[in-house]
Amino acid sequence: MDERNGFEERLRQARAREGLDKRPDGRGALPQGPWGIGLRAGVEVFSALVVGIGLGFALDRWLGTWPWLFLVFFVLGSAAGVMNVYRLFNPRRHPRGK
């Protein structure tokens, strides 16, 4: 085995040990059928909206600024929902190793 191959092999092992490389079946282990993905996307949007609206309500009650923070957080919650769905298909990448 020449030096380069040995290095690649050790690098691969080290990366696998550190969990930097997702194994091929890594995230794909979640249900991949159309229903699975559709329901997951729905739940992600719904939950981001719930958190956004809930935060807006709570802050408004606390600061007495109804309905302004509610409106702001409603929009932010929608954006977070869209981002959750985007993440579903394009998971975050590690900044270094792609």
Binding site: G19, V43, S47, L76, A80
Partner: protein, 251 residues
């Protein structure tokens, strides 16, 4: 019970009532709590039986326990990497608790404690707190860089950071709502079709023949519910380990 007065009453199965007589009344010990205790006892019993005998050629119980152990151990290793071994007991406990909760609910007269949002929300909050705690302990203040992806324009920070924080908190809701909604929907469907069987069965001579249709649907649903029981426990565990991966490696 469900077909009394010729109405469909699909939700009373989720009502809590005290059990164990006077003791249950005194401390509000409901069927939900009882089945949680049963689930924990079964898990402990299974794993004790597995570990105690530890035969070279496993018996049925030991094979079951080892299969469960290896399933989750492999999942944590795949998702989190070798550092994830530390967190295996946590993921395994969560998985077995949810799995036994779902499966016990499939027994007649049993209560499905995972069909209550309080229970699933509490589980999700525990997962959330543990994962956030691990991330803070491992990365300290660097953890907060999670909320601002590298390379994004700085002037977008006022928008990106709140959105990322909401997205981070939405894990709790999505984790709990997914399990809760699946269990409630499944058990409501079972009850509705079971009620159809009873109502249609009383339609005189043709009754039994018509009632065979919802009965067939119900049989298929029972099989489907067993699938959902496993699948939802699996999804809960794998999402926990995906979150653990994020906490350990901090993308």
């Amino acid at each position: 019970m469900a077909a009394e007065g010729k109405t469909i009453d699909a939700l009373s199965q989720f009502e809590l009532s005290p059990v164990l007589g006077i003791f249950g009344d005194a401390v509000s010990f409901s069927q939900s709590n009882l089945f949680m205790v049963i689930a924990v006892a079964l898990t402990v019993g299974l794993m004790t039986a597995t570990a105690n005998r530890a035969a070279l050629i496993p018996g049925r119980l030991q094979a079951l326990g080892e299969a469960a152990y290896e399933f989750i151990a492999g999942m944590v290793r795949d998702q989190v990497g070798d550092e994830g071994k530390k967190y295996f007991p946590f993921v395994f406990s969560i998985f077995m608790f949810v799995l036994f909760g779902n499966l016990l609910g499939m027994l007649p007269y049993a209560f499905t404690f995972t069909s209550h949002i309080v229970v699933t929300l509490t589980l999700a909050i525990v997962v959330f707190l543990v994962v956030t705690g691990i991330a803070l302990a491992r990365h300290g203040m660097h953890f907060f860089s999670y909320f601002f992806p590298e390379g994004a324009p700085v002037w977008l920070a006022p928008i990106i950071i709140p959105v990322e924080i909401i997205s981070y908190f939405s894990r709790v809701v999505s984790l709990s709502v997914r399990l809760f909604a699946n269990m409630v929907a499944g058990h409501v469907m079972l009850k509705v079709f079971a009620t159809f069987v009873v109502l249609l069965g009383g339609l005189g001579a043709v009754g039994p023949f018509v009632a065979a249709m919802p009965l067939a649907v119900n049989i298929a649903l029972v099989g489907f519910e067993f699938l959902v029981a496993f699948l939802q426990a699996y999804v809960f565990a794998i999402l926990t380990s995906i979150y653990l991966h994020d906490a350990v490696h901090l993308h």
